[in-house]
Symmetry: C2
Subunit: 535 residues, 2 copies
C-alpha cells in the first residue's frame, strides 16, 4: 500500500486551545484534500508549548478535553497524530494521541521529561513508561515525544516492541547549535534502533523561546530525505510504502548559522508582537550598532510602515551619530522622529539641585540621561500602542552595561541573547542581503555617549575578549581558572568580568524578555540568585 | 547517658561557602562550651539555600568539599549534623552529613525532591533511596532532610530501620500558613512513625524567600517541647536521655499571623539590603497607605537613620496627602526631602508636543508623572548608594495597577506579595505596637493621584472583593465559574479582574523581587506565560 503522510509544522498559541484546534482542523482538511492518510502535529499542539502553570488549572484541561473531541471527530476522514497535555486521575501527562476513524486509536505518555535549561516538565508531568506501536497503513509506527529521542530508552523500547519506523513529535526550542545537534541525536538513535524517523517540529515563538520548524524525515540509513523549511508554517509530505519513505518536496534552499539566527530573532519579534496585540514597534536609534540592528530586525519583522525610529540626542551625542542614524532611516525608508533630551535632563538636574553630583560624567548623571530617554520612548509607546523594543545585547546584559528603566525600558529585548561580536556578524550578514546599516555604524568604536568622549572600551575589555570570557563562563560553565588557563585574557580581567556578571543579576531580573538563541539565555533558562556570596 | 543537643538556627548566605563554614565553626564552639555533644545545622547549610544554578558549577562544589573538611576537623570536639550539596560521580545530592570524632560517620541523600512552587530541586539533585540511622549518645537517630517529612516514605523507612527519634534539617520558605502546616505535617508523620522529632529550620532571607526559624522539638506524643524564636539566629538546647527529650529553653512569647508576616517582611528587607551591600533605603512617600507601610517597615528593618522618605508632589497631589506624609515623617523621626515633579513633567510634555494627547487625564500622562518620580528616586538611589524600595502591593501587581519604570522602579518590592486588605491589617497591627502611620492614611479612600479626583475604585472593584477574587484564583487555583458560584462578586467583575491579571504578566516580569508570604507569590513561584490565548 502507498501511504501519504503530512508533517504539519504549525504555529500554535499557548493557551488558545480552541484556536489551536481550529488550525488543526484546517490543516487536516488541507492534507485530506491532498490525499494524505495521516497528518502529524507537534508536541502539546493543542495547548501550545510551553503552557507553564496553566497546566495547574482544571478549566484549562477542560478546554483541552473538549477540543480533543473535535479532533477525534475530524479523524473520521484522516488519521491524526497530535500532542496534548492530559489530565487523568490527578496526574498530568505530556501525551500523544493517535486518532483514527473518529476514535482514539492509541495514547502515549512522554517518558523522558526535561527539567533543565528552559524546561520545567517535572513540575507538571508524570512520566509514562510504555512504548506505543500503532499498526496502520502497512506500518508499525513507534510513537515518541521530543526528549524521548534524546535518550536511549524509548527508541530501543519501540524497536524491541516491533516498530518499523519512529514518529517523533516535538516542541524543541531553538538555539544556534540545535539544527546540527538534532540531526546528530537522531542518527545516534538509529545506531540503537535502525529505523526511519519522521521528526515533526513546531514553529513559532513563545516569549523567550522560538521553535524553528525544519521538520525532518530520515531514511533507515540516516539520510535526510525531507527537511521542511525553517521558521515557516505549513505542510510537507512524504510517501511511504512499508519502510520505504520518499519525499514529495523540493529540496529547500541552504541555510547558514547567520541566516537561522537572524530569522529566529525576526520571527521572535513577529510572534511576540502578534501574540500580544502590538501593531508596530518603536526603536530608540542612537547611531550605534545595537539599535541599528534592532531597527533593521523590527522593519524586517513588522514591515517598515509599522516601525518608528526615535532619535533622542543629548549634549553628548556626536554629529556623526545623528548623521548615521538619519542615514539608516533613509536606507530603510522608516518613519523617524527626533526629541532632544536636554530640556528633560535640565529639569531633572535642576530639581535634584545639590543632591546630584556636580560632575556630569558621574554615573548618576549618565543614568538620568538614559532614563529621560526611557520616559520619552515609553510615552510614545503608550500613546501609539506600539511596543518599545530595547536594544541591549547579551554582552551588555551580562556585565550590567545598561541602565535599568533607561535603555532597558521596553517590552521586548531583541538582542538580549546576542553577544556583541554576533551583533557585528549579523549586521554584516543583513547588509549582504541588502544594504541597511551604514558601514560606518559597523566600523566605528562603540560608545554609550552618556559622557564626553566615552567609549565602551573605557570600562570593558575589547568585545572579542569579553565575549570569549562570557561564553566560556556562561554557556561553557568553565571556571575562572580554566578560562585563565586558555590564555586569551588576564586573570584580573576575567575576575573583573565575572564579578560584573554576578553583580548585574538584579538588573537582568528586571529586564524585558528576549529570544533565546544560545544554549544558556538570560531569563528562565539561567537561574542564579541575586543575593550571593560566591563571587 | 545524658546528651545535650544544640539546634542551630543560622542565617547562611547562598554561595558564601567559607563564610557559612566560619559560622558553623563558631556555633559549634559555642555549643561545645555549653557542653553540648551534638549540634544540628539546617538543610544545605554549607551552600546556603537555594543555591540555584551555582550547583552547575564545578568550582562551587570544590569550595563545598574544602569547607566540609574544616567541619570534619571541628567534629573532633563535638558531633555535627549539617546539610550540603554533594557532587559524587557526576550526580549531585542534597546531602546530610553526620560528622563525629574528626570523621564522616554517616551520609544521607534527600529522597523527596520538591519541584513545585519556588522549588526546582529535580533540576539539580538526584534523589537518595536509603534510610540513615546513626547510633550515638544512646540514640538511634533517623536522619532526614526537609521535604522527606512531607511524605510518608522516609519517616516510616527510618522507623522500620530502627530509629528511635527523627532529626530533620530544613530550609523551608515561609508563607503565612507554614508555621501551622509544619506542625500538622510533623504530627501526621508521627501517626506513621511514632517517634520524637527534632526539626531544625534555617533563618534568613534569600531574594524572594524568607526562612522563619521557629525550629521545633516534638516529644513522642506530639507535644511541642521546644519552639525556637522566629526570625532570629541562635542556638536552642534540649537534653535527652534515651528517647526522653527535655527542653532547656524558656517558653517563647506568643506570635500572631500579623506579627509573623510583619517580621517576615522586615527580615526580608534587612537581609536583602545586607546581602547586597546597601546601607540604607529610600522610599517615595505619597500619603497613601502602601508607601506608609513600606516606610515603616524600612525604618523597622534598617533603622530610621538609614532611611530617607522622598515626597514627590505634582499638581494632582492633595494638600491632605502632603500633610499626612509629613505627619508620618515626624512620627517616625525619619529624614525626608521634597521634590516637585512639575518641572520634569512640563519638560517631558513640552518635548513630546503634539505626540502626546492633550488630555492630561489620559494614561500616557499618568505614566509620565509616575516615571518622572521613578527617575528622580533612582537618581537619589544612585547618588546615595541606598536601595530604592518600591511600594506596590500584591493586588496592584496582580491587575497591573502600577507603572513600569514609574512606581515599579526600585530594587526591592517590599509588599509585592501582600494583598491590599493585608496592607491595612499590617498597618493597624504596627500602629498597635507603636503609632507610626497616621490614622487618616488608613481610613481615607486610596488614590494614585495621577489625575484630578482619581480613586483606585474608579477602575477596580473594592479591594475586599478584588482580593477575594485574586486569592481564590491565584492561591486557590479556582476557576472563574467556581468563584462566581460563591456569589461575592459578579461574573463580569471576576472576568474583568482575571483578564487584567493575565494582561499584567509582562509588567510583573519586569518587577523587582519581593518577599513571598503567600502560597503563590509572583516571581519564581508562579510561572505563567506573557503571550497566551487562554484568557
Amino acid at each position: 500500500m502507498n501511504t501519504k503522510i503530512a508533517l504539519a509544522q504549525v504555529n500554535f498559541f499557548v493557551g488558545d486551545v480552541d484556536g489551536n484546534a481550529d488550525k488543526m482542523v484546517y490543516y487536516a482538511g488541507q492534507a485530506r484534500s491532498e490525499k494524505a492518510q495521516l497528518i502529524v502535529f507537534s508536541e502539546l499542539a493543542l495547548s501550545g508549548y510551553p503552557p507553564e502553570d496553566l497546566l495547574f488549572r482544571e478549566s484549562f484541561h477542560q478546554k483541552v478535553k473538549t477540543a480533543l473531541q473535535r479532533l477525534v471527530a475530524t479523524s473520521a476522514d484522516i488519521d491524526i497524530i497530535l500532542g496534548a497535555p492530559w489530565l487523568d486521575n490527578n496526574a498530568v501527562y505530556n501525551a500523544l494521541f493517535y486518532l483514527s476513524e473518529g476514535k482514539i486509536l492509541a495514547y502515549y505518555a512522554k517518558q523522558c521529561l526535561p527539567n533543565y535549561g528552559v524546561f520545567d516538565e517535572k513540575r507538571y508531568f508524570t512520566p509514562g513508561d510504555k512504548a506505543c506501536i500503532v499498526h496502520r497503513h502497512d506500518l508499525a509506527m513507534g510513537l515518541v515525544v521530543c526528549e524521548d529521542l534524546w535518550h536511549s530508552g524509548p527508541a530501543t523500547q519501540a524497536f524491541s516492541a516491533g516498530a518499523d519506523c519512529l514518529i517523533s513529535i516535538n516542541a524543541s526550542p531553538y538555539d544556534h547549535y540545535k539544527p546540527t545537534q538534532r540531526l546528530d541525536i537522531l542518527r545516534q538513535r538509529q545506531l540503537e534502533a535502525p529505523l526511519p524517523i519522521i521528526y515533526v517540529q513546531s514553529v513559532g515563538a513563545q516569549d523567550e523561546c522560538v521553535f524553528d520548524g525544519g521538520s525532518l524525515v530520515l531514511n533507515q540509513k540516516g539520510d535526510v530525505i525531507l527537511e521542511a523549511p525553517y521558521f515557516k508554517e505549513g505542510l510537507s509530505y512524504i510517501k511511504c510504502q512499508g519502510q520505504k519513505f520518499t519525499s514529495l518536496e523540493k529540496k529547500i534552499t541552504a541555510v547558514t548559522e547567520e541566516s537561522l539566527i537572524y530569522d529566529a530573532l525576526r520571527f521572535g519579534v513577529v510572534d511576540y508582537a502578534e501574540k500580544n496585540n502590538f501593531h508596530g514597534a518603536l526603536v530608540g536609534l542612537s547611531g550605534g550598532i545595537d539599535s541599528a540592528l534592532t531597527l533593521t530586525l523590527a522593519c524586517d519583522a513588522l514591515g517598515c510602515d509599522h516601525v518608528e525610529a526615535v532619535l533622542l540626542p543629548s549634549r553628548h551625542t556626536s554629529v556623526e551619530s545623528m548623521d548615521l542614524a538619519l542615514e539608516q532611516v533613509r536606507l530603510l525608508g522608516v518613519k523617524h522622529s527626533i526629541f532632544s533630551i536636554e530640556p528633560t535632563y535640565e529639569a531633572l538636574i535642576s530639581t535634584l539641585g545639590d543632591r546630584l553630583s556636580k560632575d556630569e560624567t558621574d554615573l548618576p548623571h549618565q543614568n538620568v540621561q538614559a532614563r529621560a530617554r526611557g520616559v520619552l520612548l515609553m510615552a510614545l509607546a503608550n500613546q501609539t500602542g506600539k511596543i518599545l523594543l530595547t536594544t541591549g545585547n547579551k554582552s551588555e546584559m551580562a556585565v550590567g552595561y545598561a541602565t535599568l528603566y533607561g535603555d532597558m525600558a521596553g517590552g521586548f529585548a531583541v538582542l538580549k541573547d546576542v553577544y556583541k561580536t554576533w551583533v557585528y556578524r549579523l549586521s554584516r550578514y543583513r547588509n549582504k542581503q541588502q544594504y541597511a546599516i551604514p558601514e560606518k555604524v559597523i566600523t566605528r568604536a562603540p560608545s554609550a555617549e552618556l559622557a564626553p568622549g566615552q567609549t565602551d572600551q573605557d570600562s570593558l575589555p575589547p568585545y572579542d575578549v569579553l565575549d570569549r570570557i562570557l561564553e566560556a563562563y556562561i554557556e561553557g560553565e568553565k571556571s575562572i581558572a580554566d578560562i585563565a588557563a586558555s590564555g586569551f585574557a588576564s586573570l584580573d580581567d576575567i575576575k573583573r568580568v565575572i564579578k560584573m556578571l554576578y553583580r548585574a543579576e538584579y538588573k537582568r531580573r528586571q529586564s524585558a524578555p528576549g529570544i533565546k538563541i544560545t544554549t544558556c539565555a538570560f531569563g528562565r533558562e539561567r537561574r542564579y540568585p541575586i543575593s550571593q556570596g560566591f563571587v
